[in-house]
Each structure stands twice: as C-alpha cells, then as structure tokens.
C-alpha cells in the first residue's frame, strides 16, 4: 500500500465553508480561526492535488461573480472520482485494437484511463501551484486542446455542481451560485407559476433527503 497522502485545506484557502473528510464527517472551517483540516487523498499525491486545485481555480475562479473551484472542494471531488470505478474505466469498452486517430464523431478511442490521463497530464504542470495567475493561465492556454485539459475542465464543472455526497459542491455553493435547488422532491405548486421571475428555493442535497445514497466512487 502506498504512503497515505493528505491535502491540507485551511480556512484561509477555502473560507468559511463545510468540508468533508474521507469518512464524510463534516468539518466547518471559519475564516476567523486558525483551523485547517487534512483530507486523506485516495489517488493523487499531495503535490498533484495542489496542482489540480490550482488549475481548477483558474478554470472556475473565485472572484466577484462568486465562489469557485477552491471553495467547492473540486480537487477532493476529482481525487475520489479517479480512485473510483470511473477513474479506472470500469464501465468502458476497452478491447483492442485501439484507433488513436479516429474522427471525433466516434468518441474517445484511446487506451488511457482517466487516471493515466491525469498522471501524464500533471507531469507537464510541475510547480504550477507556485506560479502567478498569469503564468498559470498562459500554461493552460497552451494545453487547452489536449484531452487532459478537457477532462480537467469537465471534472471541474462536475465538482462544482455535483451533489455534496460526492465531495464537491461543498455547502452547495455551486448550486447557490446558479439557483439550482438540488434534488427537490416536489415543484407541483410552483411549476406553472413565477413566470418571468427567479424562483429560488433553498437547496437541499441527498445527504439531507436520503440517508442511504452510496456514491459510485465508493464502489469496489
């Protein structure tokens, strides 16, 4: 078994929000305190997790529009996805031969799994988390057309807006940002009302509505 790696999330890095540890115990971090929480990593090494966190924050920044990948815990979400069945292509057809130069309308035809694509892609970003924002953006523009970048971008969106049971969208900040209420059981009384005006019920996640949901990344 490999040495256990941790990502340290501090109040200064992610503000006053809820984060989840590996066993899904919620910790609330407050900007005023010195608290930090060490989240055990399932797939990334700590340097890799820091690079992913920094890159996700350039893709989905925290700015005057609202919180971003940093506060949503996107790096922890991606770590869990890669450790789970999706990361190792458990449900993909992986028989040979692989045709690497297939036209896009046949979908991804490569052999590499998401885990391999991340591990390879991150090699090219050594020290990324230490760079200035401009240097980081320049680098991301350089790799914009790679498979690795499109995967990172897609996973960043997933980590912003997934149900918090998956480790991202901490405190449902992604849903609050866009006015999505999550798995809200009934809109019967509202669906044909509120025409032309924003109707924004308070978001509720599966953690509150269902105690039994088992996320796919926890499967063997």
């Amino acid at each position: 078994m490999r040495r256990r790696e941790f990502l340290t999330l501090s109040a200064t890095s992610i503000g006053g929000v809820l984060v989840y540890s590996l066993d899904r115990k919620p910790f609330r971090l407050f900007a005023q305190t010195e608290h930090s929480v060490r989240v055990p990593l399932r797939f990334f090494t700590e340097p890799e997790a820091l690079i992913v966190a920094a890159a996700a924050s350039r893709i989905f920044p925290s700015d005057e529009t609202g919180p971003g990948a940093q506060e949503a815990g996107v790096a922890v979400f991606i770590d869990r996805q890669l450790a789970g069945p999706w990361g190792r292509d458990r449900y993909r057809y992986t028989h040979e031969p692989f045709e690497q130069n297939a036209p896009v309308e046949f979908g991804y035809q490569g052999k590499a799994t998401p885990r391999q694509l991340y591990r390879e892609g991150l090699k090219d970003l050594k020290g990324f988390d230490q760079w200035s924002a401009t240097e980081q953006d320049n680098k991301l523009r350089q790799i914009e057309s790679t498979l690795f970048f499109s995967l990172l971008r897609r996973n960043t969106i997933e980590g912003m807006f997934c149900d918090p049971v998956h480790g991202g969208n901490i405190d449902m900040i992604g849903w609050q940002l866009i006015g999505f209420p999550g798995p809200r059981m009934s809109n019967y009384a509202d669906v044909d009302k509120h025409f032309g005006e924003a109707f924004r019920p308070k978001p509720v996640g599966l953690g509150q509505t269902s105690g039994t949901f088992r996320p796919s990344e926890d499967e063997e």
């Binding site: 057809y93 031969p97 009934s186 669906v191 044909d192 039994t212």
Partner: protein, 586 residues
Amino acid sequence: MKTLPAVDAVIVGGGWTGLLMAKELGSRAGFSVAVLERGNSRESSDYPGTMDELDYAVRLHMMQDLSLETVTVRHDSTQRALPMRQYGSFLPGSGVGGAGEHWNGICPRFLPDCFELLSRTVEKYGARRLPADHSIQDWGVTYDEMEPYYARAERMLGISGKAGNIRGQKIAGGNIFEGWRSGEYPTPPIKIPYFSALFSDAAKALGYHPYPNPAANLSEPYTNPDGVSRSACFYCGFCERFGCMVGAKAQPTNTLLPLIQERKNVSIRSGASVRRVICGAAGGKRARGVTYLDDEGEECFQPAELVILASWTLNNTRLLLLSGIGEPYNAQSGTGTVGRNLTHQVAIGAATAFFEKPLNRFMGSGAAGVCISDFDGDLFDHSGLPFLRGGHLLALSSGYRPIANFGILPPSVNAGWGPEWKKAAVGYYDRTGFIGFSGEHLAYKGNYMDLDPTYKDRFGDPLLRFTINWGENERKMAEFVTPKAVELARAMGAKEVSSFPGLKNYDASRYQFTHIQGGTIMGSSPDRSVVNPYLQHWQIPNLFVLGASTIPQNPSAHPTLTILALTYRTADAIVDRYLKSPSRLA
C-alpha cells in the same frame, strides 16, 4: 449444459415489450412464462433517494455495461468500424424494466401515413422523388388497424394529453394534425412550465398549432384497466436517465411488474444472458428454446413452445445473426433481410435561445412541453422542396440539471474557461432553452447492421456492427427546419439565438434519443422483412420479435407507444388465433 423444465413461452428481455407480453400471455392464456433478463432485478421502490445527476445522468448507472458488450460504428461499408467505447448517440437500458425505467415518457402516436410510407409517397410525388438508394417500405399494417391498440396502450399508461382529432372532429388546443382517435386521452395534459409556455405563445403568434406533449408522466392520480394505480407527477425534473421516485412516470416496474409478481405462472430471471435461439434440426422450421448463462454463470437450455425476442433493436438483431436464423442482409447484392433498414432519428437542438429573464428550468417533467407538428410528415407541401417528410419542433421542460447544462453560451461569448466564461455561464445558466427537432430518418440500402469481424464481447462473440449515415434528405430537412426554430426563438423574446450548424456525418458521440430502429423489420413480404405484420418470424412460426427492431423506417415521433400498441396486437394474435392453430398468422 443444464436442460430446464419446458415452459410455454420464453421471453428474452424484461423491458416494456417483454413484460407486457409476459403479462398478457400469463393472464389471458394461463401460459407458463419465463422472462430472461440479463441485467439486475429491479422494483419501483428502488428509486427514492436516487436523484443524483452525477451517478445517474452523467456516469449513466442505469445503462448497459459497455465493458461487457457494445456496438461498432462506421459510416459506409468501405470503412473499418470502431467500437462505441463510452456512451454517445443513444442509451440502451439494462435490468428489469429496461430503458422504460429511465425514459422521459413522451408518448405521441405515429402519423397515419407513416405506416404506408412507400405507397403514399409514390402516390403523391411519384417514385422518382424518392432517393435512389432508399429502402423504405410499408409496414403491412395501417393506422386504422392500429388505432384500437394505440387506445389500449394509452389507457394502460394513463397518458396525459389533449386530443386534436376525435373521429375526424378537429379540436383546437390538441394536435389537429394527428390521426383520428377513438376518444380523449385518459388524463388531462400535464402542466406547462414557463419556457414551454413562451414557445406556445410564440407558435400561436406565428400561425402554427401548438399542443401539449402527450405524457406518460401523470397529470393526476390514475387507475388503469388492469387495476394498477399511480400518483400524479411532482415536476421534480429527474425523469430521463432516472427511475421515477413517486411512480408518476409509467415504467414497466410500476405498471406491469406488480401484475406479474401476483402470478405463479410467470417468472422473471435476472442476470440471465441469452446466447442463442435454438432451432429444430429438420430444416430449422421451429424454435426449440434458448440457451443462456444464468446469474451464477451456469449454461442452461430453456425449452419452450414459443420463443419471443424482446431485447431491443441491438440484441434482437444480434441474436438472430448469432443464431444463424434467416439470411443476413447483404448491402452489395440487396439480398437477405436480417440487419436491414437501420435507422436513428434526426434529433437536433435546432435553436438555442438565450433570454434576459430567468426561466426556473429546474422545474419540469420528462414529457412536459409544447410541440408543433406543422412541419411533420407530409403535412406541408414538399413539391418545391429538396427533401421529403419532416418532423416536429418541441420546447421541452424536462428539468434542467447543472452538470449537463452549465456553460452553454451564446455566440457572443468567446471563452471556454476562466473569469469571463464563468461570469457568462453563471448569468446564462437559467436563461437558456432549446427548441428541439425530431425528424424522420428514411431507410437506405447502405444503412444496416451485421456482425463485426474484429471486436468481440465478453464471451468472444462478435459485436453488432452499425453501418449508418445521414442521407441528403435528412441534411436538407435539418437545413429547412433550423431557421423556423430560430424564428420561433426570436418570437419567444430571446435576445440571442444560436442555430444548429447542420448535419454532417452520423455522430456517434452526441446524444440523439435512444430511438435506434430496424434490423428485424416487419413487412408484407418475406423477401424484404424478417417478421410479418403480426411480428411473427416468416420462416419460424413459433418465433416472435417485438420492439423497435421491427420498425421499417424511423418516423419522427417517439416510438414507445407504437411499440406497446404493436405488442398488444401480437398478443391478441397469439391468444386469439395462434393458440387455436399454431401456424403462420399472415
């Protein structure tokens, strides 16, 4: 191999058609029936607490496991086909209930002339108007013959809608272009959310004839003629790719399974992968049963008096090819029937509309929305147009989930990540809606299914291979309808509109409905079809094939209702005629 005790009927596949046939034969004929379903067992009570976009709608938990088996795809017979390694253009279901568990519930009938497409088109425009490489044909059944079965299927599902044509009487507010109906829908239309209401008003203003989409998602509590009760829809917006949490959306597990579970003579075996249909040695004129691997991996032979394939387009076709039943279609010579007439549907987001006002799109129901059929079928004159047939435009409010829809932006935004992108994407998230188009796909000589020479499944059997592309007819149809959708979007008050860029090659990576059809098509001649109009195999009278694989070419409407109506018709033919005289029904 273990030989099991014989049953009256073995049914391959436990989705809509398989379970409907099991229920009909089990209750009306007292048959012993074994349903073999290769996926998991499932109950309607499994769904509460599963409203998770990531696992269900993105990672696609309810679909077939592609690591075990997929299809290969190519555009013409000169290419080497490539496997669909992850899901793209369609999403086949798995497990009890099949794709009927995670559908949207859109339930229109097909237009009357769809059933006689070849003869009606030739009659009106002459044979020279048809594309030279077409292979369209009549079904061998007419709309008038189908009507009572449509009505029966609608009552079983409790369809919520508004009739537009009752026995020839046109009714404003319903679809006045639809074929005649013997009566009103079983339940009133479901509610119309804001985005669809905007579309309805704009369509009226432009002189079109909008109508509420017929829905299997109930507008009010309903008890069907079988005594099965379901509750009304809550508009939670988690239909497509999900099972219904409250049982408002008709699914095989909440509409048919409760009746089957009451019967001792019908059993469902999940985890049962059927490998071959076994035919008699003497000329192969009778099916003897099927071989399958059970859920513990043991090879079994299930003898049966009747063999019924109900395992959707892909597996129905593949089982016949793997079992050596019938002559495989040969695209070069035009001979053979198994695999011919593969079609999809021209499913495009014709216009994407960006608004200033929020739309509250999270509220909705799978089939909630408004359609216009003014450009469907042959309802408009094609004399001066470069294509035949058409489809319907649809403003659907199925719910709107963020992972799938965040970042859809108007052409004025030129960023894919970073602050500018984020700001625009946050702003437009709930201000975006799609006007979809669902159009007919004609059948062509060059579009077919056969067995792939390279790629294998987990057992080492060849995968099914698609050879499929759009014809000029589909491309021109999409070109014609796109500006109509843009005009509608503008009339709805959109401040920016982006339009569909045009159909190029068949794109296996873009989702376009799960309406893959053909392969074991029905017809009135054994030279050009695999099954007769009662879905009975032409050469093997105790073998029946149900579902979308029997549809000769793809109409524009969603096919589930028609497939259920055809299944009822076949069940009647078996119970009322075949049992008295087990021979050819046509």
